[in-house]
């Protein structure tokens, strides 16, 4: 039996084996040190949550950090049989932990549920991936909701795997603009209309977070989005996991190169060329005449 330094059986191996208690301590300390580094005493925090493993863990740790009372924002896209389960878990979790939860729905704010938008997409034969529609509307609504709540930072539970998958996707399309907006503190930090995005889980692997969830949230629904397999992200995920299993440590090495070289270079390269204006349709921030959310809505509904 592989044991932790304390002598108890290990549940997870990082640079050394950790028992349940020390693994949980490691995760909490890692996340809290990120919070200490990037969150000021004046900051008002919103946490983007879904009732999934990553955002529940993040919300739990931010709440127990004690230096700020977070408000949780959940976007209900309207995916029948999936979001309703995680939303039920989330509502119970927030109630039990005395956390304010704001639920914003696609149906109310964008006119239809994601399920309905996808039916329209298929009827019209539009070349739009579910994740493109969902991700664009989600980011749009999260920024709006966080700003309306007076949040100065919105915390995203993107983990190391998410960030590397995004990097791979953006590298493969040569999208330097997108790469420049990522990292621990993402978004356009100089624009007050954008709430600063902060990712305190960026150095934590998906497997570590799933293990933490299995150990701590036994009733958390462990289902994947039914639209996942049509995404480019899914393919990136498989590719990265294959590389990691044959060459252990690859993800960590890639993350180091990303943070130390790729991200600073991308930011330097695009910072002077980026201009933000207000969308001519909805007034939300955009770099184009019409924002991407309004553009997608027009394609689907007109």
């Amino acid at each position: 039996v592989v044991k932790c330094l304390c002598g108890k059986p290990a549940v997870f191996i990082l640079d050394q084996p950790f028992c349940k208690e020390h693994f949980e301590d490691w995760l909490k300390v890692s996340v809290m040190s990120e919070l200490d580094k990037y969150v000021g005493s004046d900051d008002v925090l919103a946490v983007a949550v879904s009732g999934g493993k990553d955002s529940t863990t993040l919300l739990d740790i931010v709440n127990s950090w004690g230096k700020s009372r977070p408000v949780a924002i959940c976007i209900d896209e309207g995916i029948k049989g999936y979001r309703d389960k995680s939303l039920n878990f989330l509502k119970k979790f927030c109630r039990e932990n005395d956390i304010e939860l704001k639920v914003v729905s696609f149906e109310k704010q964008m006119g239809k549920t994601l399920d309905s938008f996808l039916k329209i997409r298929d009827q019209k034969g539009l070349d739009l991936k579910a994740c493109t529609i969902c991700g664009t509307f989600r980011r749009y609504l999260l920024n709006q909701a966080a700003r309306e709540l007076g949040a100065t930072k919105i915390l995203f539970a993107h983990n190391k795997d998410d960030e590397l998958q995004t990097l791979l996707m953006n590298l493969s399309t040569g999208n330097l603009n997108q790469i420049s907006t990522k990292g621990e503190l993402g978004g356009l930090v100089d624009e007050p209309i954008f709430v600063v995005r902060f990712k305190p889980l960026m150095d934590v692997s998906e497997k570590a977070l799933a293990t933490y969830a299995v150990l701590n949230y036994p009733t958390l629904p462990g289902e994947e989005c039914p639209n996942l397999r049509e995404s480019v992200r899914y393919k990136s995920r498989i590719a990265l996991n294959r590389v990691e299993s044959t060459n252990p440590g690859s993800k960590d090495n890639l993350m180091t190169v990303y943070k130390e070289t790729i991200l600073p270079a991308a930011r330097k390269s695009v910072s002077s060329s980026r201009k933000i204006i207000k969308c001519s349709v909805c007034g939300e921030p955009t770099s184009n005449w019409v924002c991407k959310a309004c553009e997608i809505k027009r394609k689907l509904l007109n």
Binding site: P9, E206, A210, T211, L215, N241, R242
Partner: protein, 70 residues
């Protein structure tokens, strides 16, 4: 024999030493099942364990898929 639960299906796998003096670990078992260890959490008899654990006759192993979406 060890009972293995994977993706909702259960099957029984016979345990055998992989070489003289070296007992089989869960990592060896995962390799035999041809699945990626990176994608699964190992739960042996209800407890989360590492891949270096050696299973015993009568054990029950659940492979919990590392699900995406957070």
């Amino acid at each position: 024999v060890i009972k293995v639960e994977l993706e909702g299906k259960t099957k029984e796998i016979e345990l055998h030493p992989i070489s003289k003096g070296k007992s089989l670990t869960l990592k060896d078992l995962i390799l035999e099942l041809a699945i990626n260890l990176e994608d699964y959490i190992l739960v042996l008899n209800g407890e989360v364990v590492t891949e270096f654990e050696s299973p015993k006759d009568g054990d029950s192993l659940k492979l919990v898929r590392v699900w995406s979406g957070g």
